[in-house]
């Protein structure tokens, strides 16, 4: 038996609803999630700064390491977390673990999302050389000046000297409308510290960053999580259908929608972590 047009229309409607969800979730709900995470991280980092326990070197993934403000790009006191996989970057800008912390001698790199999950680095492209970038870490407050914006093919900046510190902000970008919808390339902002850099702690190795934590990296770990969430979603959906036959539509709605929504958000979050880290 051929499926009736009503059924096809229903399926298509479902597809449209799912697509809309997939479009809106990372942008709207993701932003809320990020804001929430930022608030918690800020509270935590504030007390760490006050107690002088903020990390000066490598620390666990997702832990706050710095506050960054880029007034010209609309970034105000964003908490930078350690690590740059998609998971960490859902919470805010992430510090590339293979680099020194901002303000320390050498080059520090901070990645941030351009479109989804609060999009902290959406407006990096509007920076101009000379714009200030302020970073606060456990070692103090540092003001960097933007040197240049560069993309693929542009020359790398000269490595900093023994007293210089460079901060590189990285995000996804593209030409025209693509910047805010479909980035095809990367944008790096090089900024040099105004003043003398502080030494990096000499003990301990710096963390390594696998490909999934580099710019545009995609990590596959949330895949397992996603599969479990999707199974849960399937169970919830089947259960809801079964309940409809037992309880009728209205009651089932009342019970099933919150469950489906919760499981759906869980699945969406896991799926969102599968996105390229700076999208």
């Amino acid at each position: 038996m051929r499926p009736g047009p009503a059924f096809v229309a229903w399926v298509l409607g479902c597809v449209a609803a799912l697509g809309l969800w997939a479009l809106l979730y990372p942008v709207l709900i993701g932003a809320l999630q990020e804001q929430d995470a930022q608030q918690q991280l800020f509270a935590r980092f504030r007390s760490q700064l006050a107690q002088a326990t903020a990390p000066l070197g490598p620390t666990g993934p997702g832990k706050p390491v710095a506050l960054v403000s880029v007034p010209a790009a609309g970034v105000r006191n964003a908490v930078v977390v350690e690590g740059t996989s998609g998971v960490e970057l859902e919470k805010g800008p992430g510090h590339l673990r293979s680099t020194v912390l901002p303000g320390q001698v050498g080059t520090a790199e901070v990645l941030g999302r351009a479109i989804t999950f609060g999009a902290p680095f959406a407006h990096l492209g509007e920076l101009r050389p000379g714009d200030p970038i302020t970073v606060t870490t456990g070692q103090g407050s540092f003001t960097f000046r933007v040197e240049q914006l560069r993309g693929p093919g542009d020359p790398l900046p000269v490595p900093p000297t023994a007293t210089q510190s460079r901060l590189v902000l990285a995000t996804a970008s593209g030409a025209g409308w693509r910047t805010h919808a479909a980035p095809t390339t990367q944008l790096y902002v090089d900024a040099l510290l105004d003043g003398t850099a502080v030494p990096a702690p000499t003990t301990g190795a710096r963390g390594a960053a696998p490909a999934s934590e580099q710019v545009m990296g995609v990590s596959t770990e949330p895949l397992t999580e996603l599969v479990i969430w999707l199974l849960g979603l399937l169970v919830a959906a089947v259960g809801a259908v079964w309940l409809t036959t037992r309880w009728g539509r209205r009651r089932t709605w009342l019970v099933a929608v919150p469950v489906l929504l919760a499981v759906g958000i869980g699945a969406s979050t896991a799926a969102g972590q599968l996105l390229p880290n700076v999208l």
Partner: protein
Amino acid sequence: MKRLALALALTALTAGVVAQQSSPAGAVSAAGAGSVTKTRSVERANLAADGTSQVVESKSVTLQVSQTQALRSRQPIQVSWSGAHPTGGTVGDPNSAEARQQEYPFVLLECRGVDSASAPAAQQLRPETCWTGTSRERVATDRDTGFGPWRLDRYETAANRKAQVGVPSPFPKQCDPSFAPGERWVHFVSAAVKDYAADGASCPSVPPESTIVDNTSQPANTTYAVTHLDGRGSTKFTVWTAEDNASLGCGGSVTCALVAVPIMGISCDPAATALPAADRPSGDAAARAAKVCTATGAYAAGQPRIGGSEDVAVSGALWWSASNWRNRITVPLNFAPLNNVCDITGGASSVNVYGSELATQLTAQWRPAFCLDRTKTPFKHVQLGEPQARNLLQVGTVQAAFITDPPATGFATPTVQAPLAMTGFAISYAIDDASHEPYTKLRLTPRLLAKLLTESYPGITPVRDEYQALSHNPLDMSQDPEFRALNPGITDGVPDSAAASTILNLSTDSDVEQALTSYIVSDPEAKAWLDGAPDPWGMVVNPSYSTNPAKAGHLVLPVDNWPLRDTFEPAKYNASGVNPCLQAAPSPILPLIAAPTARLANISLAMQFASSSAQLVCQTVQDQGAAGAKLAAEGRQTPGFRFVLGVTSLGDAERYDLDTAALQTQVTAAADAKLATTNGRTFVAPNDGSLAAAARLLTADDKTGTWRFPYAAVPTSSSGASAYPGAMLLSLAVPTSGLDKLTAKAMSELLDYATAQGQSQGLAVGQTPPGYLPLVAADGLGPQRAFTLAAAKAVRAQSGATLRPSDPVFVPPPTTPAVPAASQQPTDVAHGSTPVVGPAGPVAPTAVPEVVLPTPQPVAAVSPGLTGAVSSLLAADLFPVLSLVTVFAFLAALFLRRFGRPRRDPEVAA
């Protein structure tokens, strides 16, 4: 005739070989660039009334021209001759209009056209196409009989033997209307076929390049040269292209020739029997005219001119007469492409390279090779002081710069400073010896250079009388015992003592100053003298230039810019009013004598024409009185009494055939001894051999990424003795990142060129001109060539690479063992092989042994490279695809709900 030519050719060849051998180690010489020897029988024979020819004199004149190929603007060529009639009634300046009045001069002219009867009339070489500086050299008048010698010239056409020939009609109002009974005007026809009917003093119709009566301008190249008693003579003839003289217009498609007219005198036909009666002198006048025409000279050979009493018939003024003109020897000249050849071929996409004037001659010969080759990108050399070019390069205003010294702390951005050739500065001079002949073997010590630069010779007597500190110093260098001991035969005292007390130098920032002053202070004698110790004869340094550290405000050498520090004003002299300008506005006088100039090109021009730049002449502008008076340069010196020195580039010195001084490298004689000879002192003249010796001294300097010339090694090391101390390594500095593609391509081609085609030496387009030593391993420039090759690659790649001169790649194997390359900057690549996987987080500090991760000390020599590209299909397409799918699904669902039902009905019915 054939046999004679063969013999001559053989002689020339032998002479050439001998000259080659006697010149040290392949000296920078233009030998073989189309040198030409020609011989011709010339004769003066009068026609007697009975029709018989009476030979007065016949000679065989041999002319030798040093270079006839690839000639360039303002280039002097050596012309020598033998067998000519000795000159009488000589004057000082053979290029002046007055020199035409000499008897039996050897006239040299640059003429346009082809000297061949078969050439079309418009292209024929004739007196009308020959250049003279003034119109007086083309007009003859006779106010006595009306039958000047040119009217009795037996070889002249009947038409040209009329009373008035070439007189413009209507007669220009501005011209002197007093008609002479006999006048002959030889017009000048310019390259644009404009006819200039020349006249004496006030006629305006002269070509614009005509000589202005101002001794600071270039003299005309028309030469009335002096033949000595032995029939020989030599002179430098300055060849002009259209760039110097557009009216003459030589070069490019316009053929020109050097025409030598050995003046033999007019072959007279006093009776003029073949002519109509009007053109036949008669009676008393006939005898007088015949006497004038057949005269053989009022002066004895070699006697200087004293009054206006020469015999016109044998003077240079009648060079255009048929009798003289038929004796001419024509040497066709071939010109290098004109400088504007690249502008014509479209310089729209050319790349500007800024910087050193040391490169001028090199780029002049290389540029056409680039702009005429479609596969290459043309470039343009914008001359600029090296320090300025370096600064502009560092701030990114310019993309490439010719420099010699690196920035003090190296380049801040990735840049390669790639050698192009070994060249340097030269101390050029025009000095005549005690017998008023050019002195060609000048030797100078660093101390003598220091004396000239520090304005320690008083220069003029008012300064010596009033300036206490300098009152016991020799007036000028020609009276300095040190100078006289080193240069035997030099003149003692010169008319222009001001010019002989100084050296014409640059007023702008330049690496040449750095090199010059580095050379001076590295010499112990010069250093001691500059510090205040008197030389063995008691001459002391000008106190304002003392380098004695104990003195407040002492001069610190080396410098980029030679300062003018002396402020002495001779109060009495100024007040005396001898010089109204100085009386009206007193100013320090020694800086006026030094009168430095902004460009090396100005200095080589001044040296070529022995022009003194000392600003001591008070010129008053007419009708403005004292208010309009201003100080001007002394200008050209009288030949035979010349004494000027200047700092030029080696390239310019070779191009303009300037005499260059041999510079002292080492002293073995006792330091304090009053030297009487050159014994115990080594002097090195600039040539390929001494440049190669200097190249072998170069030391790699990784800090700045280039090679430095160790001035301290010149007086001390064993190999320093033969090295020319003025050597400088001409380099092209180009960034290896951030250049646009065109510039990067052009510059890498230029660097490649220096290591390949540019290594052939010569005067043709694309060759390296004399004065530059190409990067050849045999000359000790092997590492530099390898470096430049690598630099060309780095420039082309634009990946931000920098190079270290001491890299074993560039140095020949035996010198240094290969160093383990620890220069690779630590990057994450090392960890890429053993990634610590994501969420597991970084390993606890204690768990990792202290092996990995050396501190990321940025090594300047490592290329930072380019920003990599990461493409992500997911990032690029996720949202657009999702949007499309959603919109499509939504629209499709809508469509189906709305229009799907009517279609279902028939189905149901079925």
